[in-house]
Amino acid sequence: MGRFLARRTGESLFTIWGVVTTVFFITRVLGDPATLFVPVGATDAQIAALNHSFGLDLPLWRQYLHYLAHVVRGDFGRSFVFGRPAIDVVMERLPATALLAATAMALGCVLGCTSGAIAAMRKGSLGELVIMTVALLGQATPVFWLGLMLILWFAVDLHWLPAGGYGRPANLVLPAVTLAVFVAAAIARLTRSSILDILREDHVRTARAKGLYPATVFFWHIARNALVPVTTMVGLLGGELLGGSVVTETVFGWPGMGRLTVQAIESLDFPVIQAAVFVAATLVVLINLAVDLLYQALDPRIRAQ
């Protein structure tokens, strides 16, 4: 366990280094940093000072080391718009995104697992058809359009819920549901197919044959096994969820990292964009690390390997 944890942590750090390097490559080599990192309307003297403080007057490999040294300290430079360290600006928005993503993920998992399990256990019923049709539609619906439609129905027509804003529980409902639908659709389809695979296995037949309660068979012999692929999916969806939150936050005016990133791109606030990409990638890596650890708890076979 200790060795596994050490190896996975090492891999995670390597991955984060890869992301940081990619960001460096994209902004310094593909783009023209001399214009990207200078606020609009700066004087020549300011440009020279900024270029010097970013180390842009150095050869590329020294620039890279300079950049890495700053990233390790969490220093992405100052935001052009807010005039404060970019990483602080991003971290202030993190709780709002975490709240939205966690609510959506929890809601999506509960909804997806339940409906997927119903669809599998009642295969061939009308319920299965309805659940699978809704799941297919849910997977085909772009997050931002679903958000707009929910605003149209529940805020504009029915006046039940606010169309945007932040701070009260009612503000959370529409954005969280918007994001949860897409999570639930993916999880429902996977849960159904993985339960159907497990139902055919010998240990399930044995458990039934020895007269266990159907509920015991379901929770101990079926659900626990079906959760293994579903857990992988949750890890993969973590990244998609962060991407989806970019548009969802924009649609609902949710003051999270996603909306901040879009605003930063509109105002060409590169320090903030870099810090946001770094924080988002780190989150995805951490989610996947957590998923790997969860596997071990769920499946003793993986622990043995």
């Binding site: 085909a140 997050v143 707009l148 149209l152 649609v251």
Partner: protein, 280 residues
């Protein structure tokens, strides 16, 4: 081809997907010959006219008085053309890398698979936003970004296939008669991984259509006045409380196209690979 058609006709879901896809592809491809109003013609007197099923604007007009149906058809042209180009580019890149990594193995394989891992940790939307922000929004940049976010899915699946193909008799005998590695990869491995690549490509097409719409919605994809589904949604957003049709129809177009691709893709996977037919 006859077997393809008869199997497709017997699958309700596959057929539905094919028909949906055919309708949108045909509508987009034939848009210039359908006698639609000019999608960019502004008519301030007819701004935001509601849908009139038998009139001149069957799906209504947008905030600038442009015909929504016509913009949908011409927008579909942009969206689908960009999506298909990106999918082909991603598929070629990913398949080539998958074959090289799987066939040659060793250090190249390890390096390439680490790159795949790194990209998996990169929230794709963030990567796309970053690149488009640095390079500037244009159709060409969007295509490249989407292809770059897509190649790793092919590479992983095809590498796994190649690992098992590599040890098969026909590859070993090709090697025994002195065929070079590049020759074997092109003539013996490539034809055998074309099917999985095609299956991944249909799934990717659905994902990429949504990504294009999202980028355009955020103002980083297709630029006005060229119509595009995501951009139509962004423009209609401000009028959501007074003109429902402006945001509803472009979204429906995306949902139905993606649904068509998914249904057809699921069917195609079962058709091409009967092993997975079990319970999907």
């Amino acid at each position: 081809m006859t077997r393809f058609c008869s199997t497709l006709l017997h699958s309700r879901a596959g057929l539905a997907g094919f028909v949906l896809l055919a309708v949108f592809v045909a509508g987009a491809a034939l848009a210039p010959w359908l006698h639609l109003p000019d999608p960019t013609a502004i008519g301030l007197r007819t701004r935001l006219s509601p849908p009139d099923w038998i009139g001149f604007h069957p799906l209504g007009t947008d905030p600038l008085g442009r015909d929504v149906l016509s913009r949908l058809a011409f927008g579909g042209r942009t969206t689908l053309a960009v999506a298909l180009t990106a999918v082909v580019l991603g598929a070629v890149l990913g398949t080539a890398i998958g074959i090289i990594a799987g066939f040659l193995g060793g250090g190249i394989d390890r390096v390439l698979m680490r790159v795949v891992d790194i990209q998996l940790a990169f929230p794709l939307m963030m990567l796309a936003l970053l690149v488009v922000a640095v390079l500037g929004p244009s159709i060409g940049n969007v295509i490249v970004v989407l292809a770059v976010t897509s190649w790793n899915r092919y590479a992983r699946i095809i590498r796994a296939q190649v690992l098992s193909l590599r040890e098969r008799e026909f590859v070993l005998s090709a090697r025994a008669i002195g065929a070079s590695s590049p020759w074997i990869m092109v003539h013996h491995i490539l034809p055998n991984v074309a099917t999985p690549a095609l299956v991944v490509a249909t799934l990717e097409l659905a994902r990429i259509i949504v990504m294009i719409a999202a980028l355009s919605f955020l103002g980083l994809g297709v630029q006005p006045p060229d119509p595009d589904w995501g951009q139509m949604l962004a423009e209609g957003r401000l009028y959501i409380s007074s003109a429902w049709w402006v945001v509803t129809f472009p979204g429906l177009a995306i949902v139905l196209t993606v649904l068509g691709v998914n249904l057809f893709g699921d069917w195609l996977r079962d058709y091409l690979d009967p092993k997975t037919r079990s319970n999907r």
